[in-house]
C-alpha cells in the first residue's frame, strides 16, 4: 500500500515523463552495449584522457552529450520563457545565433579579414558585442510581438530569414576564421570540463535563481495564462512579453558565441542551423504546453539533453548522420505521444481499472 502511494507520487511528479524519456534513451544504450558484448555501463563511463596538447580532459558519452547539448540547452531556457508568456515560439534563434557569431568574429578579426591569428580587438569586446546583437534581435522580436501584436511565428520569421543573411553581410560573404586559443576557449575546456557545459550550467543557474528570488516566474506564467486579467491585477503584460523575447535573444547570443568558438570561426551558413526546431522540441519534450502559461524550466533542460542523447545514441548504434534524423523523428513521436493527453487519459483509466480489479480479488 505504502509502496504504491510512493509510486503514485513519483508518477504525479511534473518531471516524471521527461525524466522517463531520458532514462529510456539511456536504456537503449545499455541494451545495445550488452548486445555487442561491451561493458553494459560503458555509456556512463567517464575516463581521463590526454589531449594532443598536454592537458587532461574528461571523456565519455555522458560528457559528450552534456557538451554537445549545451547550445540547445541554453536556447531552451529562452524558448521556455517565450512559449510561456506569449503562447508562441521564437523561430529566429538559430539564425540569430549565426548573426551573433558573425558579428563577434567580425569584431575580433576586423571587417573583410577572412582568417586571423591575432585579435583586432580585445576578446571581451567581441564576445559582448555578439551577445549584445542577440539582445537587440530579441528586443526587435519582443517589440513586434508585445507592442505590435503580431503573431510570434510571423514576427520571428523576419529574423529567421534575415539574421543569417545579415551575418554574411557583416562577414563580407566569407567564413571568418579566428585561429586564436583565447577565442577557442568558449568551445574548448575549462580544466577537465568542457567550457560549454560550464556556460550552460551558469545560464541555467542564473535563470533558476532569477525565477526563485524574484517574482518573474509568476509574472510570466500569469501573463501567459491570462494577459488581460494580469493587466487588471497590475502587471504590465506587454513589457513582460517583451522581456521574455529579449532574454530569448540574449541566450541565442550566448549559444551563438559557444557554437562559433567550437569551430573557431563564423560559418554563417551552418551555425545554429535548425537549432530553433531543437529548442522548441526541447520545450515540448520537457512536458511544457506550447499553448503558454505554466512552465517547467527543468523539463525543458532535460528535453534539450534528451535530444542530444538521442543523436549520440544513434551515432553509437552506427546510424549514419544522414539517416539519423529519420530515427530521431520516430523516437520523438514516441516521446511526444506518451505525453499526449488522450494517451495519458487512457493509461490513467487502465491503471484505475486495474486497481479496482486488484481490490476486488
Amino acid at each position: 500500500m505504502n509502496k504504491q502511494s510512493t509510486w503514485q507520487k513519483i508518477k504525479g511528479w511534473s518531471l516524471f515523463l521527461p525524466v522517463m524519456s531520458l532514462l529510456l534513451v539511456m536504456a537503449v544504450n545499455i541494451i545495445h552495449d550488452i548486445y555487442i558484448g561491451a561493458n553494459p555501463l560503458s555509456f556512463f563511463m567517464i575516463t581521463l584522457r590526454q589531449t594532443t596538447g598536454n592537458g587532461t580532459i574528461l571523456y565519455g558519452r555522458i560528457i559528450d552529450i552534456l557538451n554537445r547539448g549545451s547550445e540547445v540547452a541554453i536556447l531552451s531556457i529562452g524558448m521556455t520563457l517565450v512559449v510561456s508568456s506569449s503562447a508562441g515560439t521564437d523561430i529566429s534563434v538559430g539564425s540569430v545565433m549565426s548573426l551573433c557569431a558573425s558579428f563577434c568574429c567580425m569584431l575580433l578579426a576586423g571587417y573583410g579579414v577572412s582568417s586571423t591569428t591575432t585579435l583586432a580587438r580585445p576578446l571581451l569586446v567581441g564576445i559582448l558585442g555578439g551577445i549584445a546583437i542577440g539582445v537587440l534581435c530579441g528586443m526587435f522580436n519582443g517589440t513586434l510581438v508585445a507592442y505590435f501584436g503580431i503573431q510570434p511565428m510571423v514576427a520571428t520569421l523576419i529574423l529567421y530569414s534575415a539574421a543569417r543573411a545579415i551575418g554574411l553581410l557583416l562577414c563580407n560573404d566569407l567564413i571568418v576564421y579566428i585561429r586564436n586559443d583565447s577565442f577557442g576557449f568558449f568551445g574548448g575546456f575549462l580544466g577537465l570540463i568542457p567550457t560549454p557545459v560550464v556556460i550552460a550550467a551558469i545560464c541555467i543557474l542564473v535563470v533558476a535563481l532569477l525565477l526563485k528570488k524574484t517574482a518573474l516566474g509568476m509574472y510570466i506564467q500569469s501573463v501567459g495564462i491570462n494577459a488581460k486579467a494580469s493587466r487588471i491585477a497590475g502587471l504590465n503584460s506587454k513589457r513582460i512579453i517583451f522581456l521574455t523575447y529579449m532574454l530569448c535573444g540574449l541566450f541565442a547570443g550566448i549559444a551563438g558565441i559557444v557554437a562559433s568558438s567550437r569551430i573557431t570561426s563564423a560559418d554563417s551558413n551552418n551555425i545554429g542551423l535548425y537549432f530553433e526546431m531543437d529548442a522548441i522540441l526541447a520545450v515540448a519534450l520537457g512536458g511544457n504546453s506550447l499553448g503558454g502559461g505554466k512552465f517547467n524550466l527543468a523539463g525543458s533542460i532535460i528535453g534539450a539533453y534528451t535530444i542530444q542523447a538521442i543523436t549520440t545514441t544513434l551515432y553509437a548504434l552506427g546510424v549514419s548522420s544522414t539517416q539519423a534524423p529519420v530515427f530521431k523523428a520516430i523516437i520523438v513521436i514516441l516521446i511526444v505521444a506518451i505525453q499526449a493527453p488522450p494517451l495519458k487519459a487512457y493509461f490513467k483509466k487502465r491503471s484505475a481499472a486495474k486497481q479496482v480489479k486488484g481490490a476486488a480479488s
Binding site: 517574482a215 518573474l216 506564467q221 500569469s222 486579467a229 494580469s230 487588471i232 497590475g234 504590465n236 502559461g293
Partner: protein
C-alpha cells in the same frame, strides 16, 4: 396559421453545455410589422435568432413560415434565405471593394446566354431596386465609398430583393449616428408598408419606441411576454427585462447608512470618457462612501469604472485622487494610487485559472511591490491563509488551482486579492453575479464593513436591491452615458424609473 402571420416559432428549446439558452420560447411575427426582440445580454435574443436562421440547431420546437407547409428547419443561412428569412448584422457582411450592384447580386448574378455575367442588366436592375427603396446611390460605385449606414441599407436591399418575408436586423444601429439611424428607420417603415415582417434587436430603448409596433421580451432564456408597444411603457419594459415586477416589490428599507457627504473626496472625475464606450462624465466619491452604478447591461456601467481605473485609458477629462490631480495610463498606476478593481468578467479578466489560490491572492500585492521585491514564500502563505480565513474561501488548500474552485469561491479569491493590497478605493463590478445567496449577503456585508473603515467603494450591480442595501448614492447610466445621480429617496421604483428615463410611470 392566422392570416397575417408570417412566422411562428413554438416551444423552441436549446441547450448549450451547462446552460439552458432557450426554454420553450414562442415567437410570432406578423406581416407588415416591426417587432422588437428585447432582453438583457444573455437573455437568449441572439440564440433565438440563430435558431431562426439555421446557425443553431435547436433541440425542440417548431418553426412555421407563411406559404410553406409543415415545420421549417433550417440548417444554414442559405436554407433560411430560401424560405424567406434574411438577416442583417451590426457589422456589414458585404465586400467593400465590389460595387453596390455586384454586392446586391453576388452569388446570384444574372447571366447572358453565353454564361457570362450580364453586367448591364444587373446594373440597371440594381439601380431600380435602390430607387424603389428610396436609397440614393450610384450602384456602379464601390461599396467602400459609402457610409456604414448606406452599406447596411445595401445589405437590407439585398435581403429584400431575395424575396424575404422576414427581415432580421441584429443591432443595426449600434455604429450609426442619429441622422443615419433616422434614414434606416424610414427604410424600415417603407419595408413594413410593403408587407415585410421585421425583427429588430437593439439595446437602445428610445429606438424601440420610435419605430416598433410590438415587443417580445426574453429573460434568462425564457419568454416573458409579447406586448403591443402602447401597452408596455418604458418602466414596465425595463422591469420585464430585469425580472422585477414593480407591483410586487415591497420597498426595501435601507439600514441606517451614515451621512458621509461631509467627508473629504477620495475620487473626483471631471469629464472622463473613453472614445466609443462611454461619454464624458463627472463623478465624486467621498471617503467611506459606497456609490452604486445602476443601468441596464451595456449601458456603460462597467465602462465608467474601467475609464477611472485605467483598464480603458481615459480619452478626455481629469481625475483627482485624494485632492491631487493624477494621470492614469494603466491599471498599475491606479493601484499605486490605492485603487483596486474586481472586473465583471471573472473568467476573462479576473482569475488566473492555472495558478494556485495562493498565487492568485498575492498577485496584485506582488505587482504593486514590483518584480524584484518578491514576497517570501512564508509571507505569501501567511497572507493567503489570512484572507482565505477572512472571506471564507472554501478550498482544499492554498496550492489548489483556482480553476478548480466554484464560481463564488473564485470571486472571493479575487476579492481577497484586492483586500490584500489594502486599497482606499475599490471598484466592484458585479461582485455577486452567479453566486449563491449566502455568499451574496456576505459580500454585501463586506462592502458595508469596508466603507465603515473609511474606504470608498464603487459598486456596480444588476441587482438594484443589493445596491439599495449598501449604497449612499447611485449614478444612473443609460446608453453609454451617465444621465444622473440619485442621492435621496433611493427606492427600487425610483431607480428603475431613472434607468428607463423618458416618460414616467403613471
Amino acid at each position: 396559421m392566422e392570416d397575417n402571420v408570417v412566422l411562428t416559432a413554438r416551444g423552441i428549446t436549446m441547450t448549450f453545455p451547462g446552460v439552458k439558452a432557450l426554454e420553450n420560447v414562442d415567437f410570432t411575427l406578423r406581416k407588415g410589422e416591426i417587432h422588437a426582440l428585447m432582453g438583457e445580454n444573455g437573455a437568449g435574443k441572439s440564440t433565438l435568432i440563430k435558431c431562426l436562421t439555421g446557425i443553431n440547431d435547436f433541440e425542440a420546437g417548431e418553426i412555421h413560415v407563411d406559404g410553406i407547409s409543415g415545420p421549417v428547419r433550417n440548417h444554414s443561412t442559405k436554407d433560411a434565405q430560401e424560405v424567406g428569412i434574411s438577416t442583417v448584422y451590426q457589422e456589414v457582411n458585404l465586400c467593400p471593394n465590389l460595387s453596390v450592384a455586384e454586392n446586391l447580386f453576388i452569388g446570384r448574378e444574372p447571366m447572358t446566354k453565353f454564361h457570362t455575367v450580364d453586367r448591364r442588366s444587373y446594373n440597371k436592375r440594381s439601380q431600380k431596386i435602390m430607387d424603389e427603396l428610396g436609397i440614393s446611390v450610384d450602384v456602379t460605385q464601390n461599396l467602400e465609398n459609402y457610409s456604414l449606414a448606406i452599406q447596411q441599407m445595401v445589405a437590407i436591399a439585398r435581403a429584400v430583393d431575395m424575396d424575404c418575408k422576414v427581415l432580421i436586423l441584429d443591432e443595426p444601429t449600434s455604429s450609426l449616428d442619429d441622422e443615419e439611424v433616422e434614414k434606416l428607420f424610414s427604410l424600415m417603415r417603407n419595408l413594413r408598408d410593403k408587407g415585410v415582417g421585421i425583427i429588430f434587436v437593439t439595446h437602445f430603448l428610445e429606438q424601440v419606441y420610435a419605430v416598433c409596433d410590438r415587443i417580445t421580451v426574453l429573460r434568462d432564456g425564457q419568454l416573458v411576454g409579447e406586448y403591443p408597444i402602447a401597452e408596455l411603457p418604458r418602466v414596465k419594459l425595463v422591469a420585464a427585462m430585469m425580472g422585477k415586477n414593480l407591483d410586487d416589490l415591497a420597498e426595501i428599507h435601507k439600514e441606517s447608512i451614515e451621512d458621509v457627504s461631509k467627508n473629504p473626496l477620495e475620487i473626483s472625475a471631471k469629464g472622463i470618457s473613453h472614445t466609443g464606450t462611454i461619454k464624458p462624465f463627472d463623478l465624486d466619491i467621498h471617503k467611506g462612501e459606497v456609490v452604486g452604478v445602476a443601468g441596464l447591461l451595456g449601458s456603460g456601467r462597467s465602462e465608467l469604472a474601467r475609464a477611472i481605473y485605467g483598464a480603458d485609458k481615459a480619452s478626455t477629462g481629469t481625475l483627482s485622487v485624494d485632492g491631487k490631480e493624477v494621470k492614469i495610463n494603466q491599471p498599475i498606476d491606479a493601484m499605486n494610487l490605492g485603487m483596486g478593481m474586481l472586473p465583471d468578467d471573472r473568467k476573462a479578466e479576473g482569475i488566473i485559472a492555472d495558478l494556485s489560490v495562493r498565487e492568485n491572492i498575492i498577485l496584485a500585492l506582488q505587482a504593486k511591490r514590483g518584480m524584484f521585491k518578491q514576497l517570501s514564500r512564508a509571507r505569501q502563505e501567511e497572507i493567503a491563509a489570512r484572507y482565505i480565513d477572512l472571506v471564507q474561501i472554501k478550498t482544499a488548500d492554498q496550492e489548489t488551482l483556482v480553476k478548480q474552485l466554484s464560481g463564488g469561491n473564485q470571486q472571493k479569491v479575487i476579492l481577497a486579492r484586492w483586500l490584500a493590497t489594502d486599497p482606499d478605493f475599490l471598484i466592484l463590478d458585479e461582485p455577486t453575479r452567479g453566486i449563491d445567496v449566502g455568499t451574496k449577503s456576505e459580500i454585501q456585508k463586506m462592502i458595508v464593513k469596508l466603507a465603515g473603515e473609511g474606504k470608498s467603494i464603487l459598486f456596480i450591480s444588476s441587482e438594484i436591491a443589493e445596491m439599495l442595501r449598501t449604497c449612499n448614492r447611485m449614478a444612473i447610466m443609460r446608453d453609454g452615458e451617465k444621465v444622473g445621480e440619485l442621492d435621496h429617496d433611493l427606492t427600487q421604483e425610483n431607480v428603475m424609473k431613472a434607468i428607463a428615463g423618458g416618460e414616467q410611470a403613471q
